[in-house]
């Protein structure tokens, strides 16, 4: 019995060194994270959703700021179609005070966020997903109680100027899913601020 315990501890330890994170096609785990209104939020709470636009973002990062209005617009456009935005701040506020829970509450109120803005205090969800920077988007499609990763990457192809964006990756992905098609470009790369991991 003791041997099994040691063995499973060793396996767990080994697993923790393997690079984590989802690829397109993987099943994503649900989470239970605290929203800016103090309530806990899980994907399972959304009975009628067809999927989610899970967006790792934060207050301080210039790229996250540049994309903030576009994240708000994504929720305005797709929540009613079954793909709401769930924003998650994974940063350690000890490293960046601007990303503290209180400052998240303030930001969500100032900008009238119409979607949850959750704090990933343990950073476990960002690690499970494999989020590397902010903003970093995961489009998930819901199948019963399972959530399949259908798109990972950038929101569009122009962080500086929304009106100059030619390819709107997240919109294209959600539109494809809504049309019952496979996502035309399932993964893109973007420059962003590194997630501030706890040391």
């Amino acid at each position: 019995m003791k041997k099994i315990a040691i063995l499973s501890a060793a396996i767990l330890l080994m697993a923790s060194f393997v690079k984590t994170g989802y690829n397109v096609g993987d099943k994503a785990i649900d989470f239970k994270l605290k929203n800016v209104d103090g309530k806990m939020v899980s994907m399972a709470d959304y009975k009628n959703a067809k999927g989610f636009i899970v967006t790792f973002t934060c207050n301080h990062c210039p790229f996250a700021k540049a994309y903030e209005d576009r994240i708000i617009a994504l929720n305005a456009k797709y929540a009613s179609l079954g793909y709401p935005v769930i924003a998650i701040n994974p940063n350690d506020p000890k490293q960046v005070d601007e990303d503290s829970y209180t400052n998240m509450q303030k930001r969500a109120k100032d900008k009238n966020y119409t979607f949850p803005y959750l704090i990933d205090e343990t950073q476990d969800i960002a690690r499970s997903f494999g989020a590397a920077h902010t903003p970093h988007v995961y489009v998930l499609q819901k199948f019963g109680s399972e959530y399949l990763v259908k798109y990972i990457g950038a929101i569009d192809d122009n962080s500086n100027d929304p009106s100059a964006a030619k390819e709107k990756y997240v919109e294209d992905a959600v539109n494809d899913l809504l049309a019952g098609k496979s996502v035309r470009l399932p993964a893109t790369k973007a420059i962003g601020c590194s997630i501030k991991w706890k040391s």
């Binding site: 210039p62 950038a154 122009n158 962080s159 500086n160 100027d161 893109t188 790369k189 973007a190 962003g192």
Partner: protein, 162 residues
Amino acid sequence: MKIIRNTGLLFFICMQTSFLWHRVNAVNISDLQKEIIKNNDTLYVVNFWATWCAPCVKELPSFKAVYTRYASNKVKMIYVSLNSMQELAKVEKFAEDNSLKPEVLLLNENNPNSWINKIDSGWSGTIPATGIYRNGKKIYFQEGDFTEDKLNNLIQAKLNKP
């Protein structure tokens, strides 16, 4: 006369400023590749950074220190700013204030998805990130920041092993 003298003075000041001003060239991805993929035995240490990126700014002194140490060797630091074109003046001022040498470029590309893989297919796009090139080949790539010791040891190792 006074006007002429003042104009002359202004001209003189402008000349001085442009002489001291740290020039930052804006380049596209193929220009950048031409700068770093060269058929010679110089080590091109290419650091991707931005003025808004706190961990990038924090590691710059390590790069400067290592560059000073190996200045007489075949080592060239190229600081590639990922700031937007609108921030070119800001990058020039930063480069000047922080004496970034010998070369600072601004990568003028809008769509990271089109060029990140050309630098390294394993790169997520998070900065800082650093690549080392020699004889037209990429011989090292790292996503994440460097300590001075780590960078120093790496450069030393690469110089020892041509």
